[in-house]
C-alpha cells in the first residue's frame, strides 16, 4: 500500500482497474469500428462518392457516352430561366405533396383511432390496412392502378352499375394527377401504425377526467388527443413530406414514362429521369437532383422550425 494511494483515498488496485476498464472500453470500441468498416466502405463508395460525382456533373454537360465538359452554372441558370417544363414539374410535385400528405395523414389518424379498440378481429383489420403500404410503391400495383382507372377499367365498370359515366381517369389531364394522389393516399398503413402506437401512449385517465368535466368527443379529440399526439404527427408529416417529394414509380408507370397526358403528371423526379435518360443530359439532371436536395432540406428545416409552436413533448412543462 503506497502512500499515494492512501492519500488519494482509493483502494489498492482501483486506479489500475479503472484504467483497465477504460482500456477495455477502448478495445471494444475499436472492435466495433472494425466491424463497421464494410458499412463505411459501402457508404463511401455507393453513397458519398456518387453524390460528389453528381455535384461535379451538375456543373458540366454530360451525355453519358462521351466525357463531361465543364460549363459552370449554366445548368442552374437554364433551369430557372429558360425551361418552362421544369417550373411546371415543380408545380405538379408541389400540388402532389400538398394534396396527398394531409389527406393521407388524416386518413391514417382516422383509421388508427377507429382501430384503437379492443374489439374482436381488430388485429386482422390492422394488418389489412397496413398491407397496401408494403406493396404500394411497386411497379405491379401501379400497373394494376393504371388498368383499373382507365376508361374501360373496373372503376368505371362499377360506376356504370349505378348509372354514372366515368371519365377517363388516367388519360385526361384533369384527373391523371388525382389518380396518382389516390394511389399515394392508399398507402396510409405505415403512418397509421405509428399513430396507433402514439394513441396507445395517451393515458386513458385523461379522457375519463375530461368526460367527467363534461367534454364531448370533439373536445376530447382537440384538447387531449391532438396535443399529446403532436410529436407523432410531426414525425409523420416530416417523413411523408420527404418521401412524397421523391415519388417516382407511380408517375412513371401510370403515365408510361411520358409525364402525360399533356405533362399533367410530370413529377420532378420523372422530369429528371427524362432529361437524364431520354435526352442524354446528365449534367442538367444532376443539377436538378441537387436543387431538389436543397429544396427538401429547406422545407425540412422549415417544418422543424414551425414545429416549435405546435408540438408538445409532454415533459417540458409550460409552453
Amino acid at each position: 500500500m503506497s502512500k499515494s494511494s492512501v492519500q488519494l483515498g482509493t483502494k489498492p488496485g482501483v486506479r489500475s482497474t479503472t484504467r483497465r476498464l477504460l482500456k477495455k472500453q477502448g478495445r471494444s470500441g475499436r472492435t466495433g469500428y472494425v466491424f463497421l468498416i464494410p458499412w463505411f466502405v459501402g457508404l463511401a463508395i455507393f453513397t458519398i462518392g456518387p453524390m460528389i460525382y453528381s455535384l461535379y456533373l451538375s456543373f458540366t454537360r454530360y451525355d453519358l457516352l462521351q466525357s463531361p465538359t465543364w460549363i459552370g452554372l449554366q445548368n442552374y441558370r437554364r433551369m430557372f430561366t429558360s425551361d418552362p417544363r421544369y417550373l411546371h414539374s415543380v408545380s405538379v410535385t408541389i400540388k402532389y405533396v400538398f394534396l396527398s400528405v394531409p389527406i393521407m395523414l388524416a386518413l391514417a389518424l382516422g383509421i388508427a383511432m377507429l382501430l384503437n379498440r379492443k374489439r374482436r378481429g381488430v388485429g386482422v383489420y390492422r394488418s389489412l390496412f397496413y398491407l397496401p403500404s408494403l406493396l404500394g410503391s411497386s411497379v405491379a400495383v401501379a400497373l394494376v392502378w393504371r388498368s383499373m382507372f382507365g376508361q374501360n377499367g373496373s372503376l368505371n365498370a362499377a360506376l356504370s352499375v349505378v348509372g354514372i359515366h366515368g371519365a377517363d381517369w388516367i388519360n385526361s389531364p384533369t384527373w391523371a394527377l388525382g389518380t396518382i394522389i389516390v394511389l399515394g393516399c392508399w398507402q396510409f398503413g405505415a403512418p397509421m401504425v405509428i399513430f396507433l402506437a402514439g394513441l396507445k401512449q395517451i393515458p386513458v385517465e385523461l379522457y375519463e377526467a375530461a368526460g367527467v368535466d363534461g367534454a364531448g368527443r370533439w373536445r376530447k379529440f382537440m384538447h387531449i388527443t391532438l396535443p399529446l399526439l403532436s410529436p407523432v404527427i410531426f414525425f409523420n408529416v416530416l417523413l411523408q413530406t420527404i418521401s412524397s417529394f421523391q415519388a417516382f414509380t407511380p408517375a412513371y408507370i401510370i403515365s408510361g414514362g411520358q409525364g402525360g397526358p399533356a405533362d399533367s403528371t410530370l413529377f420532378y423526379t420523372l422530369y429528371l429521369y427524362q432529361k437524364g435518360f431520354n435526352d442524354f443530359q446528365f449534367g442538367y439532371a444532376s443539377a436538378m437532383a441537387w436543387v431538389m436536395l436543397a429544396a427538401v432540406g429547406i422545407i425540412t428545416a422549415a417544418i422543424f422550425r414551425f414545429s416549435r409552436s405546435w408540438v408538445f413533448y409532454g415533459d417540458e412543462g409550460e409552453r
Partner: protein, 443 residues
C-alpha cells in the same frame, strides 16, 4: 509505477494475444466479405472452349420477339460456336435502356437502332465502323438506296434491318359492320375527312374514322413531302416552319373536333404498342403507322385488317422506302466479327427471312425478298402486295435525320396533346414547338 507481478504479466501477454487474434479474425472476416461480394457472376463472354456469347437487343412486342428468336435459333444451328442472348423492350423505353447499358459498359454486341437515333449514336462514337467487317458482312445484295442511309461520313455504321413505308391500317371487319367501304386509294385528305366523318356518324359516335394523326411525327413528315417541303434540309437543319405545323394541326384539329378523329384522351394511348392503341380497341377504324408494325396490329385484334396508302395532296403520297430499323454493332464490343456475322445472317440469309417474315418490314436482301414474296401467305402476303403496289409512287429516300430527331418525335406528342386537350391554341403550340425544337437541335 506499479510493479507488474509475473502472473499479471502473463495475463497481460495472454490478453494481448487474445486481442491480436480477435482483431486478426475480424480483419480476415472483413476481407473475406469484400472478396465474396466482388466475386459476383463473372461475365466473360468467351469460355475456354472458344464459344462466343453475343448479346442482341431490339425493341418490339412479344409477336416480334417470337419471330426474332426463331431466326436466332437458325443462326445458332448454323454457327455452333456462337451463342446469342437476347433482350427486348417496348419502343418508348428502349433508347434510355440502351443508353444506360452503353454508359455502364454493357452495351449489347448487336443492337437494333431507330433511324432517328442513328446520327445521335454515331456522333457519340457508340457504333462500330462496319466497313471493316466486309469479309463477313456482304451488303451487295441490299437495296443501295437503303444501304446509303446507314452511312455516316462514308462509313457504314448501320445496316437496314427491314424496309417499310407509311400506311393506313384499316379495320375491315368494323367497316363491314357499319356498312361502309374503305377509303379510296389515291383519295385526298379531304376525301379522308369525309370518309372518317361517315364512320363516326354511322357508329353513333362510338368509333372515330381515324386515330388522330396530329401527334405523329411520321405523318407530319409525309404531309411536308406532299406539300413539296421537308422536315430537314440536306445539311441537317430544321426545314419546317411554324406555319407548316399550324396547317397540319389545324387540319387534324378539325378532324378531332368533328369526331372524325379520336378524342384527345384516346389519342394519348398511342405509344407504339398496337395492343394498347385505338385501332385494336375498336375506337378507330383506321390508324396511321408503318407497314412493318402491321403484324403486331393483326395480332392485337380478331378483326380483319388491311393496308391502304396515305391520302394525297396534289397527287403525292409522300411515301418512300424507309429503313424500318437498322442494326449496328457496338464500338466497344469484344466480338465485332461475330456480331457482324450475325448481322450478315439476319439481313441476307433465306432462313432468317423465312423466320422473320414481315415482322420488321420487307427483308433487306432484295433477291431473297422477291423469292419469299412469291410464297408468302396471310399477313406477310398483304405487306408484300401493298409494297409492290405502292413501289412506283415512292419518292427518293431522304438521308437519315440529324441528331435530335428522336426527341422531336416525343416533343410532337407532347405539344399536340396540350393542343388536343385544349390547354393551348394551335398557334401557341406551333410557336412552342419551334422554340423547343431549336433548343433540342442546338444541343
Amino acid at each position: 509505477m506499479t510493479r507488474v507481478k509475473p502472473v499479471q504479466r502473463q495475463h497481460v501477454a495472454f490478453r494481448g494475444r487474445v486481442r491480436r487474434t480477435r482483431i486478426g479474425a475480424v480483419g480476415a472476416a472483413v476481407a473475406l466479405m469484400l472478396v465474396a461480394t466482388a466475386c459476383g457472376g463473372s461475365s466473360s463472354s468467351t469460355s475456354s472452349n472458344g464459344k462466343v456469347t453475343l448479346s442482341f437487343a431490339w425493341w418490339g412486342d412479344a409477336t416480334r420477339a417470337k419471330v426474332t428468336q426463331a431466326a436466332i435459333n437458325e443462326f445458332e444451328q448454323k454457327n455452333p460456336n456462337i451463342k446469342v442472348t437476347t433482350e427486348y423492350a417496348p419502343f418508348g423505353s428502349y433508347s434510355s435502356k440502351i443508353t444506360t447499358q452503353i454508359a455502364g459498359g454493357n452495351a449489347p454486341d448487336l443492337l437494333q437502332i431507330d433511324r432517328g437515333f442513328q446520327n445521335e449514336y454515331a456522333g457519340r462514337g457508340v457504333l462500330a465502323n462496319l466497313s471493316n467487317q466486309s469479309s463477313v458482312l456482304k451488303l451487295s445484295g441490299l437495296d443501295p438506296n437503303l444501304v446509303a442511309s446507314g452511312k455516316v461520313s462514308g462509313q457504314v455504321v448501320a445496316v437496314p434491318f427491314g424496309q417499310t413505308t407509311s400506311t393506313l391500317v384499316v379495320d375491315m371487319t368494323k367497316l363491314a359492320s357499319l356498312g361502309l367501304k374503305p377509303p379510296k386509294a389515291g383519295g385526298t385528305w379531304d376525301d379522308l375527312k369525309v370518309w372518317a366523318q361517315q364512320v363516326h356518324d354511322k357508329s353513333g359516335g362510338k368509333t372515330a374514322g381515324i386515330a388522330d394523326p396530329g401527334s405523329s411525327w411520321g405523318a407530319f413528315e409525309a404531309w411536308q413531302f406532299q406539300h413539296g417541303k421537308a422536315q430537314y434540309t440536306s445539311a441537317g437543319k430544321i426545314a419546317f416552319t411554324a406555319s407548316d405545323l399550324q396547317d397540319f394541326w389545324n387540319f387534324t384539329s378539325d378532324l378531332r373536333k368533328s369526331g372524325a378523329a379520336t378524342p384527345a384522351n384516346v389519342t394519348a394511348t398511342i405509344t407504339g404498342t398496337p395492343a394498347d392503341e385505338p385501332l385494336a380497341k375498336g375506337l378507330a377504324a383506321a390508324e396511321w403507322d408503318f407497314d412493318s408494325v402491321f403484324g403486331s396490329h393483326v395480332a392485337a385484334t380478331t378483326n380483319q385488317l388491311a393496308l391502304f396508302p396515305l391520302p394525297t395532296f396534289s397527287g403525292q403520297t409522300g411515301m418512300y422506302a424507309r429503313p424500318s430499323m437498322l442494326l449496328s454493332v457496338s464500338s466497344k464490343s469484344p466480338h465485332q466479327k461475330q456480331a457482324a456475322q450475325l448481322l450478315n445472317f439476319l439481313v441476307n440469309d433465306p432462313a432468317a427471312a423465312k423466320a422473320l417474315g414481315t415482322g420488321r418490314g420487307l427483308f433487306p436482301n432484295v433477291s431473297v425478298r422477291e423469292s419469299l414474296a412469291k410464297t408468302a401467305a396471310g399477313t406477310n402476303k398483304q405487306v408484300y402486295d401493298y409494297e409492290a403496289s405502292q413501289q412506283s409512287t415512292f419518292r427518293p429516300t431522304p438521308p437519315a435525320p440529324p441528331k435530335g430527331d428522336g426527341e422531336l418525335l416525343t416533343l410532337m406528342q407532347r405539344v399536340y396533346q396540350a393542343i388536343a386537350f385544349g390547354q393551348q391554341s394551335v398557334n401557341a403550340g406551333a410557336a412552342s414547338f419551334m422554340s423547343q425544337a431549336q433548343t433540342i437541335m442546338n444541343q
